[in-house]
Every structure is written in C-alpha cells, then in structure tokens.
Symmetry: C2
C-alpha cells in the first residue's frame, strides 16, 4: 500500500503518470502567456529586403566624392525599379527599400540638397542600412517549442504576419473542496460555515500559471463528484475534508472514484497528510484544508504537475539565500516557510514572513518564495544560509 514519501519521490511519482497535453491553433493576439507547441522557424528573411535605417539619401559611392545626383525620391512603401550607378543617389525613408547599387544611406540632417543633387561634409561611420535577413534568416528557429509567449515574441510573430500559432492546450483543472462546512462565495453562511477561500486561492494560482480552473464545493457524494470531474478535467485538486477524524476516508474516496493511489502523505510540513492518485493519466492531488498547507502543497506538488501537463520543466529552481529574520522552531520533518526574497549585491536575501502557522493566511499575499528547511533543522537566525524556491516566473 502506498505510504508517506519524501518530497522529491512524491513529486516524481505524480510526474511519472502525466502525459503532456495536445496542442491547438489559436490567434497570435490571444497568445500572451501561452506555451508554444512547436519550434517556430522564420518563414523568410527579416528584414525581407535591404532597407534604409534612416530617412535620408541612398547613394552609390564613387571615389569618396561628396556630391551625388538624386535620381528619385522614394515614397513610403515604394519599391525602387532602378539601380543606382556610382555617383547617383535617391531619397529614402526609414524602413524603405534601398535601390540596387546602394552603398550607404546619408542621414537627412547630414545632407545638403540643392536642386537635383546633394552634398555632405563627411562619409558616415555607419552604413545606415538594415541588411536583408540581419534580424532572422529564412529557416532559422525564432522560438523553441515550450517557450512562454511574451510581448517580445508577439512583436516577432506579427512582424511575419503570423495570425495564428500552435500552442499547448490550457490544462483544465477542477478544484473540489470536500469539507461539508465549505460554501461558495455567493452563499450566505449559516453558523459554522466558511467560504471556499482555499478554492479561490488555488483557482487564481492555476489561472495565472496557464491553467483554466473550475471551482466546486462538494455537496453530497464526493466519490461521484470526483469521478465525474475526472471525465472533463485534466487534473483534479481536492481540498480538506477527508480526514474527518479517521485518516482512511482519503483512501476510501480514491478507491470509490476508481483512482489509483500514488501516495498517502509526504514527508513535509505543513500539509504532510496530502495524498495523490491518478486515473487515466490524470492526477488527483488531495491538499490540506489549512490555507498555508494548501498553498505549500499546491506549490510543491500541483504546480509541477501543471507545468508537466503544459510540456514545461516541472523542476523547481532553488537558490542559496541569507535569512534576514529569525524562525525559532527547530527539529521535526522537512519544513517549508513562506518567504519574501530580494536579490541584493551579495545574492538572495530572504525574510521569513510573520505568519507561519498552517491555518493562517496573513503572509500569503506577501510571499514570493518558499524557504526549504531540512528535517531536524536548527532555529533560523538572521544571516543564516537557507535554500529558497522562488514562486514567480
């Protein structure tokens, strides 16, 4: 029977059962934050032709002389149908085609025009020309499969006129709160009822991290609810409500919903009683109902799974840091604290946030990293070295 696992084994056991999602074609303009599903190659040279980098005069240089006959003034977008001979020039605009035979472009402000010729004082240091393909060459990889599409990549995609791209489908994640006292935000609480705050915490995290979350509160038969959510979702997270005084309710629920258990508990504080299973390659992660434990369990187990579903590396980045505030507890299992880290001239420095009780929410809004303390750790004092796991991208 599956039992409590060390963190890395628990993570790996979930990841081993995940198949990355398929892709879909979406409009480029809706793609910010989505994941590229294929390597994207340059369909043609960029710039596609030799361009003026400045408004001015394209000239064909002869013997370093400084006087050129202007044959033509090219309008914006005009494609020249003539070739410059040495000693000739043509008015050009930034981004416009330069004529065949152009050696360099004299900036508008450096040229003196008189009737149909120009003169200038000295040969410019720059050619003021954008060579064909200098940004990207035809066939070159523009962006790799697995890249997160950002505004810079949008600029590149649209420079090629790419109206659609192939992106990984957004993972559908169902978040099911199991506690019988939990109610949705729209409902007015009876005595003893509480709003589904953990559900909204998780759905906000999921939506920010590329998923599409659906939040539910269990009403009558969690095994049927779980079972039916596993039909439509790519991953299900449950929250709280399983212990109910006997730890076996978790095993029972998975079994009744036809979910193969992966582990019951992992060797981490807070939220060590977190469980996981899978059905048809879809992970089910059963998180604690304690807000901080729910958040930490999400970061350590669900977020890597969400990455893997999207074809991203699930590996959590880890950095050495110096603590700037104390944490006085010691010993016990491996423990994760909520931290706020900053890069300083001496590297990462991290404040242990004030509220570290697993039932508290106070520090959730300020947390930008987890602090990873090994099992049996001593108290943390300011300037002590600790390991951090940043939670941003």
């Amino acid at each position: 029977m599956p039992k409590s696992l060390p963190l890395e084994e628990a993570q790996q056991a979930i990841l081993n059962r995940i198949t990355p999602l398929t892709s879909e074609v979406i409009p480029s303009m809706e793609a910010v934050g989505r994941i590229l599903a294929v390597d994207l190659t340059s369909p043609h040279d960029l710039p596609p032709y030799r361009q003026a980098a400045m408004d001015g005069y394209a000239i064909s240089v002869r013997d370093n002389q400084g006087k050129f006959i202007i044959k033509n003034n090219l309008a914006a977008g005009e494609v020249p149908d003539f070739t410059l001979q040495p000693g000739e020039g043509a008015g050009v605009l930034t981004g416009g085609h330069v004529p065949q035979g152009t050696t360099l472009v004299i900036r508008q402000e450096d040229a003196h025009r008189a009737e149909n010729f120009i003169t200038f004082n000295e040969m410019p240091a720059n050619k003021n020309i954008r060579e064909q393909g200098e940004d990207f060459q035809s066939g070159e990889v523009i962006a790799r499969k697995g890249s997160i599409i950002n505004p810079g990549l949008i600029a590149i995609l649209t420079a090629y006129g790419l109206r659609h791209i192939e992106a990984i489908r957004r993972p559908r994640v169902a978040v099911l709160s199991l506690g019988s006292e939990i109610i949705p935000l729209e409902q007015k609480p009876l005595p003893g009822q509480v709003w589904n705050s953990n559900g909204y915490l998780l759905s906000s995290l999921i939506n920010l991290q590329g998923g599409s979350a659906k939040v539910l509160v269990s009403r009558s038969s969690p095994e049927n609810e779980l079972s039916s959510l596993l039909e439509e979702a790519d991953m299900v997270l449950t929250i709280g409500g399983t212990a109910n005084g006997e730890n076996d309710r978790c095993r029972e629920l998975l079994s009744e919903a036809g979910v193969q258990p992966i582990f019951f508990g992992y060797q981490v504080k807070p939220g060590g009683h977190t469980c996981a299973g899978s059905k048809n390659g879809k992970p089910v992660i059963m998180l604690s109902g304690n807000p901080m434990a729910c958040f930490v369990g999400y970061c350590l187990l669900a977020k890597p799974a969400l990455c893997a579903l999207q074809g991203l590396s699930p590996k959590m980045k880890r950095f050495p840091a110096l603590a700037t505030s104390p944490f006085l507890k010691k010993g016990g299992p491996r423990r994760f604290l909520l931290g706020y880290a900053l890069c300083s001239p001496g590297g990462w420095r991290v404040a242990v946030l004030p509220a570290q009780k697993s039932s508290m929410r106070r520090s959730l809004a300020d947390c930008n990293c987890l602090i990873d303390l090994p099992a049996g750790h001593p108290p943390v004092q300011p300037e002590d070295p600790v390991d951090i796991i940043p939670l941003g991208e």
Copy 2:
C-alpha cells in the same frame, strides 16, 4: 519651445501632467492583477471564533490528569452550546468551534477512546487551537491601497466573503501607428507594406501591465485620429511615421490635434527623437518606429506613465550588476541595452543580448531588463559593473 530633455526630466515632465484614474467596484474573482483603490480593513476577527486546529478532542485540563469524559462529538460546522468543565472533553473537527472552557485540543491520533472517555499518554506541546483573531484582528489593515491583487490576497478577501472590491479603473491606452506603410495583421501586404508589429508589441505590454489597449493604424488624417482617440483613451501612444524627412511633422501633428507639447526628443539612445505632449491631463507619447527603440521608449516613458495612471509608483527600480558578455561600442549619448539578468550568489549578473540594433526584434523575447550605460561610456567587458532596470514585477 520644448526641446530635448535628459531622461529623468522627460519622465518627470510627463508624470507632472498625469492625474491618477478613478476607481470602480469589481467582483473579487476578477480582480487578480488589478490595483486596490482603498486600504482594506478586516471587517471582523479572523478566525472569527476559537477553533480546533486538528481533528481530536477539546478538553478542559484539571491537575494534568490524562482521563476526560467526552460530553459530545461536534459535527462539521456545529456550534457548541455547552461549556467544558475541568475533566470534560468534546470531539472536535479541524476548523470547528471549540466549546467554552477548552484548554487545548488532543489530536485524534494521540487519544485513546474507550466508551465515553479518552486517555492520552502526554500533554501535547501545542495547544492545537486557533485563537480568535490570530490571523487578522477586526479593523486591522489587510492590504494597502495600491496593492496589486494576487492569489494570496484573493484567499484573504474570500475568507471574509468579500465578493466585490474597489479597484483602480484599467487605463485605456490607444496605440496609433502613423507610418503610411503600416497595415493591420488581418490585411495582406502590398509591396513595401509591413504589419503593425510594434502596435502589437505595445498592446501586449500594456495589457500585461494593467492597461486595456486599442491598436490602430493611421489611415488618412493623423491629427483627427489623435484628437478623437484623446476623447476616449486615458493615454495615447503613437509609433513612427512622424519624421518623414522633416522633424517638424511631430510638432505639427501635436499642434493640429490640440496637444500641448512637453518635449521633442530626450537624451537617450535608441529612440532619442521620441516626443511627448498632453491634452486635458492625458499624455501622448510619440515613440520610434524602430522596434527596439519603440520598446525602450515604452519602458522608459510609457510604462511609468501607465503606473502613475494606476496610482502606482512610476519609479524604475535600478540595481548594480556585473556584465557577463561584452558590448563593444562606446561613447555617444546615454544608451540602453536589452539584457537578460539573473540573481547569482554574488548579486545580479546580466548578459548583453545579441541584437542591439534599434531596427531589430531578435532579442525582444529574451529581454528581462534594460542595461543603462551613461553618456560617453567605455566599451562593456565581461565582469564590468553596469546598472540594470528589471522589467518584470
């Protein structure tokens, strides 16, 4: 007549003319990424009552004895209507009310139950109780005006059942491309026409940074277009197309649209010919049509303005870093390079990205900071100290 300004003066001159936007009431569940318009205070203690932190037994301790009569087993959500006397206990669930008179909670797994009493081996180190108000006290400030609403804050808001919050209105930003050769993404280009890649770059940045962007391509009379955009938008960015061989077109356009000029050019490379004006407290920033110059101008001038419109600090954070790759040009005006920075054990390290020509897009997707080189700078060699401005949040 306004002229070329140093960067900080140019920024300040725009900011001086900005009035922060008003607020609106929005559903909490749509608030991630929005800006809180007011200080948010705790409407009541959280937790609102004294709760069990574990499933187990609430007991009222007498003389350190280890045997307690169980009066009752509280169900999920049940509110106890009795008081524990010393020597008495009651079954409780995590998050449930503990009865009046409770000293501490014995965890389920540490208690031995026999008929209507429990025994246990040793007094627990923790009380296993969540005290009323230990997370937030009634009236305490939960989050300050100007906070960006993140999932952690959503968890806090929804724990109070707050279905709506007051957020700063999203700034409406119009992005108008002036070049006559520029076409929208939907259109098939004629020879010499190019897609509005810079417009899509800016709109993606604006939307990510809290604004709501509208992208347009100038068709016939930019002065009328600009004028009418200033009616509906909170800020207008124009791109390229003004120089057209005579620098005064920019002045003319602002004047015809009734926009008061702020400056013509700022002492920065790339994009030094950027202009700005304002009309009725609405900034107009006229960015270069060169992609990198357009991006840098956005980061240095438009992004601070977008922050100020949202009541956020427009100040760009700046950190010392060591370069990891060279940049061989030297001298000239203050220059901004596209960089990729990482926090290492010795502090920030920054790679100068490969494509630094203002007409190029290659490095836009990899850029996470600007490198700020002072006027007349020497070439940058690996391990040289430079200043960086991170572009993420």
